[in-house]
């Protein structure tokens, strides 16, 4: 059962990802209310050009995530090349150079697994185009924790291995062609926000009996 009051978006992409990310981000308005945290597989020695490219395609502010930085709503964060990006309980970032996971550093699985520490069931996870299976384990974990999973249709992906791996890994919530993902995400988040304001905000008790 999904808790529909989402609080963060995590996205994983690889081969063909820059175009796919641009498509998703360009559909979102400048007042998009949630943080978006992205792992795009890059060459280890590439500079921080990805944030600049994505910012030019988007109305949102895009930056490379810094160590210990507190995650802010409405921001887009990119994992730095050659570091894993992790999310702490207090919703700040940490970085790690532990070995590649699924041949990748940054790894989508590492971001997704640790996103649960900070955001629990309030996560929307998106898997876009890619040529390996990174992210499969992560979406499974997020789904088990009550998050929502969107995957690009393998047919619309430049490389279909990663969407296929995610679909095989768990019962994903939505499979969409690339051009519909941004719009769908916006609707999903808007309806979740409306629900939040339509009813007295229920604070789940820290201790259940």
């Amino acid at each position: 059962m999904n808790n529909t009051e989402f609080e963060a978006i995590v996205i994983g992409s690889s081969a063909g990802g820059i175009k796919a990310l641009s498509s998703v981000l360009s559909a979102l308005p400048s007042d998009f209310p949630l943080p978006i945290i992205i792992v795009q597989h890059l060459h280890p020695q590439s500079d921080s050009y990805l944030a600049k490219i994505l910012e030019s395609k988007s109305k949102l502010k895009v930056k490379q995530a810094d160590e210990k930085e507190t995650i802010a709503d409405g921001m887009v964060y990119i994992a730095p090349p050659n570091y894993h990006l992790l999310i702490e309980d207090d919703r700040s970032f940490s970085l790690s150079i532990e070995g590649p996971v699924n041949f990748a550093r940054p790894s989508i699985d590492v971001l997704f697994e640790t996103a649960i520490y900070g955001y629990r069931d309030k996560i929307i996870a998106i898997i876009l185009t890619g040529a390996n299976h990174d992210g499969g384990f992560g979406v499974k974990k997020i789904k088990q924790s009550g998050g929502y999973i969107i995957v690009q249709t393998p047919e619309s992906a430049e490389a279909d291995a990663m969407p296929k791996a995610a679909i095989a890994a768990t019962d994903v919530d939505k499979i969409l062609p690339l051009e519909q993902i941004g719009q769908f995400l916006l609707q999903l988040v808007n309806s979740s926000i409306k629900k939040r304001f339509a009813k007295p905000r229920y604070q789940p008790g820290r201790f259940s009996h």
């Binding site: 810094d66 160590e67 210990k68 730095p80 570091y83 894993h84 992790l86 999310i87 702490e88 309980d89 940490s94 970085l95 790690s96 150079i97 532990e98 070995g99 590492v110 697994e113 640790t114 649960i116 520490y117 629990r120 924790s145 820290r206 201790f207 259940s208």
Partner: protein
């Protein structure tokens, strides 16, 4: 209280248990990375919970040693971030040449790849013979590897490329002897390196240094522990001493931001400054 809250309690208890039993203090490490690696160990060995694993950690030293390797990240390479080593050679080395004798501390040196990188630069710049390098790590297993200076030959191609990007102009293969699938670093690089056990979370200052290297270690610590370690470094450096951090690490938001100034900003190379002057 859900499962994640319960796991957080269990993790805290496990880290306390490890500290009390074995003296390794992970309590002030950034939690996400530790938690993820503990969870992977649980799944791999089929434990039901962190508490169930804790029992084995306390009673089986060999199992603790396995977990210790999981928890201490020992990924490194020679001339990691070649641009950093280029800056070291071009900007810092000329400055170090004015000292008659040099002391360098590599804190958290892991299996030693970056220590040998430094040794090579010092050799080429004519400084090695008047330098004492202290290379320390908390993990004795990796420290032993560092001391042996034996690396897998499959990595040497990348190290050679890194060396060249870092401004190296000699033949890199002169610095090691290939032996089957291993490369043994030249004895002459080891002469002035002292490898020893030192834990940044629990141990203190052990001498005054001209330069401290501590790259990609602070990222695993929480703010409190980062401040403790930066305090150790500040106490170990005289005014004008050099501190080198990893390229994603910064002193800017720490308790010691006023004790250092940038030398090469983008490579995180800092100079200790005279703070007495500032406060007067």
């Amino acid at each position: 209280m859900d499962d994640i809250d319960t796991q957080n309690i269990e993790l805290q208890l496990l880290l306390q248990a490890i500290y009390l039993k074995y003296g390794y203090d992970f309590r002030n490490y950034a939690k996400a990375s530790i938690k993820r690696r503990v969870q992977h160990r649980l799944t791999k060995d089929g434990f039901e919970s962190i508490s169930a694993m804790q029992n084995k950690v306390l009673y089986e030293v060999s199992f603790f040693e396995t977990l210790l390797l999981d928890l201490s990240i020992n990924v490194t390479e020679m001339f990691r971030d070649p641009k950093f080593y280029l800056a070291l050679r071009k900007v810092i080395i000329p400055h170090l040449k004015k000292y008659p004798f040099l002391k360098i501390w590599h804190a958290g040196c892991s299996s030693g790849e970056e220590v040998y990188s430094m040794a090579i630069i010092l050799k080429e710049e004519g400084l090695y013979d008047r330098t004492q390098i202290y290379a320390t790590d908390m993990n004795e297993i990796v420290l032993k590897q560092a001391k042996n200076g034996i690396f897998n030959i499959s990595r040497l191609k990348q190290y050679t490329a890194n060396y060249q990007k870092a401004g190296g102009q000699e033949s890199f293969s002169d610095y090691y002897i290939a032996h089957y699938d291993h490369a043994v670093m030249s004895k002459s690089l080891k002469e002035n390196i002292l490898f020893s056990d030192h834990n940044l979370a629990t141990d203190g200052v052990f001498g005054e240094m001209n330069l401290i290297m501590c790259r990609n270690v602070l990222i695993y610590f929480n703010r409190d522990l980062q401040n403790r370690v930066l305090g150790l470094f500040s106490d170990s450096l005289p005014n004008d001493g050099t501190l080198c951090l990893g390229s994603k690490e910064s002193i800017r938001f720490s308790a010691f931001s006023n004790s250092f100034e940038d030398i090469v900003r983008e490579e995180k190379i800092y100079r200790k400054i005279n703070t007495d002057k500032l406060t007067k």
